[in-house]
């Protein structure tokens, strides 16, 4: 199994990718491209239990743990939100519970200059998704320690 890149390295790769775009809409279109490439979640998982309600777009998230690592899969009815999700999954999936718990979303979004998606556009369900990811990581960690 190949070595998993550190969260810091993945973050830097994404920041470098996004630095190529000048206009906000180029970023938006890129996010949509990323969103379209995200593996769709099987319909059986798109149930209320896995749903994170945003005002404007909906997100479904599932996770599982292997050892002390957590893995995520998610989907949304919005391609832009899916793009944001795919970034998050790239950063956090296959990392330890503690890394997910201490992940600083505000700091990362500000460095990649996508902060508008967690400020004026809170309604897209993305922020709640990150909260759910951390909650899942906390739950797996508690279970592992018990």
């Amino acid at each position: 199994m190949s070595e998993v890149a550190s969260i810091e390295d993945i973050e830097q790769e994404i920041i470098d990718d996004f630095s190529l775009f000048e206009s906000g809409n180029d970023k938006n279109f890129y996010l949509m491209d990323l969103g379209e490439k995200l593996n769709p979640l099987d319909a059986k998982y798109k149930i209320d239990e896995n749903k994170i309600r945003g005002c404007q777009s909906q997100v479904w998230l599932i996770s599982h743990a292997e050892g002390n690592k957590i893995f995520f899969e998610a989907d949304s009815d919005s391609d832009i939100t899916k793009g944001l999700i795919s970034i998050l999954i790239r950063i956090l999936s296959n990392h330890s519970f503690d890394e997910v718990i201490k992940f600083n979303l505000n700091d990362f979004m500000s460095r990649v200059q996508l902060n508008s998606f967690i400020t004026q556009r809170r309604s897209n369900g993305f922020l709640s998704m990150v909260e759910r990811m951390k909650k899942d990581a906390l739950a797996y960690k508690a279970k592992a320690q018990s």
């Binding site: 206009s23 809409n25 005002c55 777009s57 009815d77 391609d79 832009i80």
Partner: protein
């Protein structure tokens, strides 16, 4: 095609635009196209000036002050009441209660008239196209009083099924609270007919004028509604001010909404006697500056003329609907015969949120989502729409910009 020549004889949209400073700004490197007027309208310079003038010249607390500033502020505040009375043709100024906006107006009536008059088993009727602000206060009241909320269904065009409305009425029905014009579909409801029918059964009627009062001539006496609510910020005025109109005899019977200063006649430790109308419902220091500036907004609208504005907006709406319906995959939501200047649509297979974000990237401000009308969106089986809503200052060129940008976005995605 839009017939602009006829309109421009009496209505110069470009001269009007000059009076709205915000319209000259750029968003994301593009000239702003502001199509979110059903959420809030932009403010003309005269309204901004009125606010600045109030705070620069005569800011003071109103009504009981004996000094010059207090007298000037009181006079200006009360002049807005008189102007608002004329604006909706109320019988007298005591029927004009200042609120924070439509939401507070509806909550005020639910909490006072509602608590006083709705009993267990009673029924309240609303329509299937209400904003949450005309649903939730009645849910709260119905839950407290064990009353029942009934809904007038709508058809696929977004028009009320009037024969169904009559069937909903029973001897238990005490109130009909109905939106005059839908915020998400634009449908203008036949409120006069609804009021006539309801009154034949001795049912009180409240009309939510949030979306209608900026576009239509409002005559509460002719309409014969018992309550009518509006918000200043939808009528080119400041945020945080609204009017609750109520028939004087009803307002007099109602208990106060909030207790505090201003709404009292006399207070001892044993009891309080309440002030006269309209002050009985205006506890505490009101939003004086914004209320004062609201008058400037009404005067501005009156000067241009609602009929002229309506003609212009109707032409834009018809043009936008024609153009949008020609785009592959676009489905218009809300095709009632009588509409305000709201155009709601979806694009098959595309998320409204994504399109809204992308349009914003091109400087076009629209609203996306359920527009605080989740039950209505469920009726159409959609999570939400993209809504473009037009005001007096919007142009045919801006509609063209929306259409071409939308086409560009959709092409990029295909």
């Amino acid at each position: 095609m839009i017939e602009h020549t006829a309109i421009q004889n009496t209505f110069d949209v470009y001269a009007i635009r000059e009076q709205f400073p915000i319209l000259s700004r750029e968003v994301n490197g593009k000239p702003l196209v502001y199509f979110d007027n059903a959420a809030t309208a932009q403010k003309p310079q005269v309204v901004i000036d009125a606010l600045v003038n109030y705070y620069s010249e005569y800011n003071a607390n109103i009504h009981r002050g004996i000094h010059t500033l207090a007298e000037e502020a009181t006079a200006a505040f009360e002049r807005t009441r008189d102007t608002a009375k004329e604006f909706i043709n109320a019988r007298c100024r005591e029927e004009i209660i200042f609120t924070h906006g439509v939401t507070e107006g509806i909550n005020l009536v639910a909490s006072t008239w509602g608590r006083q008059n709705i009993k267990e088993g009673d029924e309240i009727i609303i329509s299937g196209m209400e904003h949450h602000s005309n649903i939730v206060p009645w849910h709260m009241l119905c839950s407290e009083k064990k009353a029942k909320l009934k809904i007038i269904p709508i058809d696929d065009n977004g028009e009320l099924l009037m024969n169904e409305f009559e069937k909903l009425i029973t001897p238990k029905t005490k109130l009909v609270s109905i939106v005059h014009a839908s915020n998400s579909l634009g449908t203008i409801n036949p409120v006069k007919e609804i009021i006539d029918i309801a009154h034949r059964h001795n049912i009180i009627v409240m009309v939510d004028g949030a979306q209608s009062s900026v576009h239509l001539n409002i005559d509460v006496q002719d309409m014969n509604c018992d309550f009518f609510v509006l918000s200043s910020h939808k009528i080119y005025g400041p945020t945080g001010v609204g009017v609750l109109y109520g028939k004087k005899e009803l307002l007099e019977e109602m208990p106060p909404y909030m207790g505090g200063g201003e709404m009292i006649k006399e207070v001892t430790y044993d009891k309080t006697t309440y002030n006269e109308l309209p002050y009985k419902f205006e506890a505490g220091t009101p939003n004086i500056g914004d209320t004062v500036a609201f008058k400037a907004a009404i005067d501005f609208v009156n000067e241009i003329g609602k009929d002229n504005i309506r003609k212009h907006e109707e032409a834009l709406t018809k043009y936008a609907m024609e153009k949008l319906s020609k785009i592959d995959g676009v489905r218009l939501i809300g095709t009632a015969k009588h509409k305000t200047s709201v155009v709601s649509f979806i694009v098959e297979g595309k998320s409204a949120y994504d399109l809204g974000v992308l349009l914003d990237g091109f400087g076009i401000a629209v609203r996306t989502g359920h527009h605080c009308c989740q039950p209505l969106m469920n009726r159409f089986g959609i999570p939400g729409t993209i809504r473009a809503s037009f005001a007096m200052y919007n142009t045919k060129e801006e509609v063209d910009e929306l259409i071409s940008t939308l086409e560009k976005i959709l092409k990029r995605k295909r």
